[in-house]
Every structure is written in C-alpha cells, then in structure tokens.
Amino acid sequence: MSRDRVIDCDVHPVIPDVGASLKPYMTREFIARLGARQPPPAEPLPGNRFSHPGGNVLRPDAAPPNGGPPGSDPAFVVEDLLDRYDVDACILTPIQTAALAAWSVPLEATSLAQAFNDFFVDHWLSVDPRFNMALVVAPQDAHAAAAEVRRLAGTPGVVGVWVPILDILLGQEHYHPIYEAAQEVGLPIVLHGNGTEGMFHGTPRFASGQPRTYAERHVGFFQIGIANLSSIIFEGVLERFPTLNFAFTEYGWSWAVSSIARMDMSWKAARREVPWVHKLPSEYVAERIRFTTQPIEEPEDKRTYIENMTRLVNGGQTLMFSTDYPHWDNDESPRVRLALPDEYRDKILFENANQFYKPRLAAKVPA
C-alpha cells in the first residue's frame, strides 16, 4: 500500500512566556501600556471555568525534551508530529491568540495580534517548509483586522485568516471589512473555537444557559458551529464575497449533516425572507465551506457511523484531516486515518486541504 498524503489542518504552536516572547514585536507604547500590568498577586483558587479535569489540555507526552510546554518547540513538533507521522504540510492555528476575542480594548488586541503573527512567522515558518499558518486578527476592530490581513498577505507560509469569533454571528456586517480584505488577497477564513466561549463577555455564548463543566462545554462547541454556519449562509456572505471560503476547525462535523439538511429545508420554505441566498445551502457548503475532522466521534459502531456520516456530509469534498496536536483529544493515531472510508481517504487526508489552501500551500506539498 502506498503511503498516505497528509495535510494536518490544525496544529497548535504554543508560546511559553507570552509577555517576554512578544516584547520584541511590540512598540514601546504597548510594552509600557501592557507591561505595567501585573497578574493577581496570588491565584486564590484553582482554575474555575472551564478547566480540563486532568489539569490542562496539553498532552504531557508531547513535552519537548529541552523543556517548555508541549507544542512550544518547533523543532520538536517537526520530529514528534511531521516526521513521525509523515505529514506533508500542516496549518498552524496558534490557540493562544484566539483569546484575543475576549480582550476588552480593541487597540491592545490589534497590537497583540500583530505581535503574535510576527512571532510565529519568525520562529515557526522559518523552521520547516511544511509549517503554514493562519494569521490571526483581533476581530473587535474589523478595519484594523483588515489592515493586518493586507500587511501579512504576501508572507510565504501565511495561508489563511483566523478570525476568533465574537458574540456576533459571522454572517453579520461587523466582519465585512475582514472578509473584504481576505477575499482581496485570496486567503480563506479559518475558524476555530477561541477557548473563551461562555467565559467572558464579548465571546460566543452557549445555547440556552451556562454550562458548568469542561465536559459539557466540550460537547457544546458544535452549537457555535451550527449558529455561525447558518449565519454565513443566510446572511448572504457567500454571495457578497463570491470567492471567499471558510474552514470550520475543531467544531466537529457530524452536526453539519443535520445542519445542512435543515438549512436546505428552511431555505425552501423561507427563501423569500433571504432572497440573496440563490441556491441550496448544501450547494454553497459543497463549494465553499470545509470542516476539519478532529475530534472524530467514536460511538459503539464506529465503522458504520464514520462511513455514513462521511458520505452524508459529502466528505469527499467538505472534510479536511486534522490532529489538534498537542491537545489531549488529538487524532494523531494511524488508526484514525484507517477509519476513514477508502473512497474518500485521500480527499480527506490531503486533496481537499490542498485545494482549499491553494495556491500558497501547493508549492510545499507533492502534487
């Protein structure tokens, strides 16, 4: 059997000491403004909302031998993930930056986003040509975010625009300047849980009330996927920005089977309310929306479930493989790849992402 071609669409690089690491990339003004702040003198209690019951989400076995937290040493990520599993390319989605969605002052969030992006370009993209990244924007000030997109659009290895979601649905006008810039420079929008949902004002809320535990919240992420997918479709974003594409990363995807069917049903009944939606939502999704695979759900009859769900979500077009390295709920194991239906396997593991992130990614992976 020939080797699998693989693009991993969700790898989290970690900055061990954010303050010190970003300092070289910040202006004197923001160093003065942010550097003056002190953390609380003592942590009065263990982490409240939503701490992983095991301590944190990082896998201890992924800790670099030279010290630092898992995911913090790019050379070790090359060895531990890319080489070990023979990965052709990966998309870095710096999870720490997503917390910018919870930042209260847009000016500061914008400055931090710039510093984060410059750090990852310098410290990660230069290490291995298989590293590609989604630049992050601070979404509070969408015009400043658009400027950040244009600033970095030409940087080799920058293949997408990560928009941490606010408590504003993605179809709404607030995000238009970001979409306009991303479309102009030919980068897709990358979405990923920002980790602060249900924790701070300004970030997405969970449906129907506040969950109390990590377990509930881990299930509830797909609520945010459902809400934002239908917002993007029914607000007409894909008509307003006709060449802009979206990737839902780590929101799950089995929900999309039901969501897409339900959107089609709603559109047939209520098209006159959203006349800017010109075709079946399922058609827009097949053409323009992608979902990453991790975490693949594992019910008792896993084989039947994955085969049927993959087919029903049109996975030969819509799914892109991801591991979520170095997080606990990863899908690194070759067993996960083997669970994918043969007929879609190469599409999901490689080709769909290759098409989605073209042309910037294409130079780095085998044709």
Partner: protein
C-alpha cells in the same frame, strides 16, 4: 383531453376558484385578465396548494437588497411555504426541481376549458 369547467361567471376576477375535475382538484386563477389552471396538489407533499396565499414574492437579489415581483403569479403552499409560478409551474428561486402541474386553459363561448390527460 378537454374538460369544460363551467361558465366564466363561476370564476370571479382576482382570485382562485377550486373545482373538481374527475378525480382531480383543479384551481383556476382569473387574474389580470388571464386565466391559469393548476393541479391543486403541491409537488412536495400533496397539500391543497390552492388554499395557500397567492400574490408576488421577493425575487432573487443581492445581499441586503429586496426586490418584490411576480405579482399575481406566485402560489405559496399553505403547508411548507414552497412557492410556484402559476404560469409554468416552476418553483420560485429554484427551490424545487419538480413543477406544479399546470393545464392549458381557454374560453370557448362562455365556458372555461382546460386541456388535461388522465383526470
């Protein structure tokens, strides 16, 4: 096959009149000086579509814009709201590949006549 549905007086201007023709329920619309006849059965679930609202609709438009049109051409099913043109039976906006069955209709003398097979 031709079916006489009755005198034109029985189909007042401005609305839909439902008549039974053999096994079929047929809706006859007398609007804007023209007659249209459709099968009173929605292609979706077979609902009595002629009991639904009749008028115009929002035409496909650019995001953020509204454009009302097809006045007196659109029949909306009372069940799921699917919309069809009474002119040619096609769905509005491409929501359904199936068509509402329409019948050629004419006036002969004082009578309304439709052409239909297998009623």
């Amino acid at each position: 096959m031709r079916h006489r549905l009755g005198s034109l007086d029985a189909f007042p201007e401005g609305g839909c009149t439902v008549v039974q023709v053999g096994r079929r329920s047929v809706g006859v619309f007398n609007v804007d000086g023209r007659l249209y006849a459709v099968r009173n059965s929605c292609p979706h679930h077979g609902a009595p579509i002629c009991m639904g609202q009749f008028g115009g609709t929002m035409l496909p438009s650019a995001p953020g814009e509204l454009s009302y049109g097809m006045e007196n051409k659109v029949l909306r099913c009372p069940w799921h709201g699917w919309e069809y043109s009474i002119e040619d039976g096609s769905s509005v906006g491409g929501i359904d590949r199936s068509r509402l069955v329409t019948y050629p209709v004419s006036i002969e003398g004082d009578d309304v006549v439709i052409e239909a097979k297998g009623l």
